[in-house]
Subunit: 337 residues, 2 copies
């Protein structure tokens, strides 16, 4: 067996699978942000020719998948399995989005950590010989997410400063055996971490403890410190969650502030784009990885990174019934080769 | 590599993982049904000491997990990973239910096919060496599901005869390397199958085409006919969906009617329990497998079965926006040894 378990939560791949290609599709605001020119497709209307936010999100997923598959020189029938998910109830953005591809599929839900979950399972499946090429995809949409978790946009509700802006975007990745310059060398699967926070408008704070837990577990399982990563890149802690993460990690005797990046901070311009605490959503980490991070790894500018998408586990029902908002985070070690 | 891919959608395990134990917890109506004496725990109140249907469903999941872990002579920390999901928006029954176990977890969504998805991924992970013991769990609850998909029970809405009754129940399974008399010898992962049906009150009809597709694909990938299975057991097609499945399979030149069973028909008494088209929900297939089917396999009464949980991919949002209700089904080959 070429792959080994490492410590209690991690897997180290003896023959690491490759990320062969990626596809990223985003909306207008993301296109106007600092990474705007790096996305494969920007849809200025945010609707992708559809009549509802949900259908737009589905179409975005399909397009991201087709872009990733096409860039790898493949067709949908060359993909053995698909791992995908989104934020909407019963994962309809994914079900309706990938249906046309007719790839056998595993539906996932990990809130905004889903891109880490999908990449981890794709890498695990390729490394185990369950498929030569496997597709990972996630998405989020500002319109569908506001409707799902808060109110439809037409209500024009005011957002608190601790709120994050759900990214309109979908990122897809082909993971496989064919060689590229990007490998997934290991994964660290997260536990649910609950500090008892109940403010669904401060997701960064709810997710930071889970990010801390997964990062520290990754260090322990792989016998590493932060020094061995060029960057540790969380999914969507945003400005508030990132500060909390730095404090929590310091309390554990480490300091990652100088090498920590967060996709929720990278994707929007804090000065000009008025997103309050930064970006969020399944699509935030996925599109930032696809459009920005992977090219840095591919070119060798970054040799090894720890990608840690973070999710807040809640629904309007759990929130209204007084439940707390626990977090979860999955770590994916991505290396240049 | 001991495991091989078979055909386009299936995996055959050279060294099949074992199902070490199972746990089943159900509500009052299920306890009064034909399988009533076979469940591990029946809660007459349906609330498991909680104040909301959602919290009751979460507690049911936790109890089912603890039962399965305990029956295998293990503790939660002996379980390396957990695969779980449920029907509620953002999978909160699972997140809130398994949180206390502190097992690294992969959240899933496959509607009522989730027990098949969780068992397949657990078996794939064990066979790949990613863990010696992995837990699969799913649940549903009549109260939380009616509220999620239709109306809260207090509204006392009338159900059409084609509607199925969501099972209040949770089933959990420990899959591992330790020997038992039950093995998972292979899996067939389903595609999304959409015949364009839009009636969310006739789920059986929406899911039957997906069941047909996965069963036929299983036969093809493994070079088998129905003759090589003692039973083919679908998750929750119920009375209407089962008839449709038989017709669809006949059109493909096969006939499985004499060896087909459906958990939605097994779990309630059609004469006395007034469930209309039968039982449904993630918990239907999971608890029927845990309490009834596995004991038949364990004792060798059934040597090889094909377990095919079926899911209808929809939400109130997709339904209200006019989308169809596609289906998905995952096949798990379970053998006596």
């Amino acid at each position: 067996m070429s792959s080994m378990t490492r410590g209690s939560q991690s897997i180290y791949f003896g023959e690491p699978p490759y990320i062969l290609s990626s596809g990223s599709v985003v909306g207008k605001k993301e296109g106007e942000g600092p990474l705007g020119t790096q996305f494969d497709m920007v849809d200025e209307s945010n609707m992708l020719g559809e009549e509802t936010w949900e259908a737009a999100e589905s179409t975005m997923q399909k397009e991201a998948c087709l872009l990733a598959i096409g860039k790898a020189g493949l067709k949908p029938q060359d993909i053995r399995y698909l791992y995908g998910g989104d934020l909407l109830r019963q994962g309809i953005a994914t079900s309706m989005g990938v249906e046309a591809l007719q790839i056998p599929m595993f539906g996932l839900f990990g809130a905004c950590s889903t891109s880490g979950e999908a990449l981890a399972l794709s890498a695990m499946s390729v490394a185990a010989g369950y498929g030569d090429r496997i597709l990972a995809v996630t998405s989020s949409h500002f319109g569908s997410a506001e409707k799902e978790f808060r109110f439809p946009l037409g209500y024009a509700t005011q957002r608190p400063l601790s709120a994050q802006w759900t990214v309109t975007g979908s990122g897809a990745f082909v993971v496989g055996l064919d060689k590229s310059h990007i490998r997934i060398s290991g994964v660290t699967i997260g536990k649910i971490v609950d500090y008892g926070l109940k403010d669904s408008q401060n997701m960064g704070a709810c997710m930071a403890p889970a990010a801390c837990d997964t990062i520290m577990r990754n260090f322990e399982d792989f016998g590493r410190t932060g020094e061995e990563y060029d960057h540790i890149i969380t999914g969507d802690l945003g400005y508030i969650g990132s500060e909390i993460l730095h404090d929590l990690i310091k309390k554990k005797g480490n300091d990652i502030a100088d090498k920590h990046l967060d996709c929720g901070k990278l994707i929007f311009d804090q000065e000009t784009q008025d997103t309050h605490a930064g970006g969020s959503g399944c699509g935030c980490a996925a599109t930032t990885l696809a459009a920005h991070i992977l090219s840095k790894v591919e070119q060798g500018e970054w040799k090894r990174i720890l990608f840690v998408p973070t999710g807040a586990l809640m629904s309007t029902v759990s929130y209204n019934e007084g439940e707390s908002v626990p977090g979860i985070a999955h770590g994916v070690v991505i290396e240049h080769c």
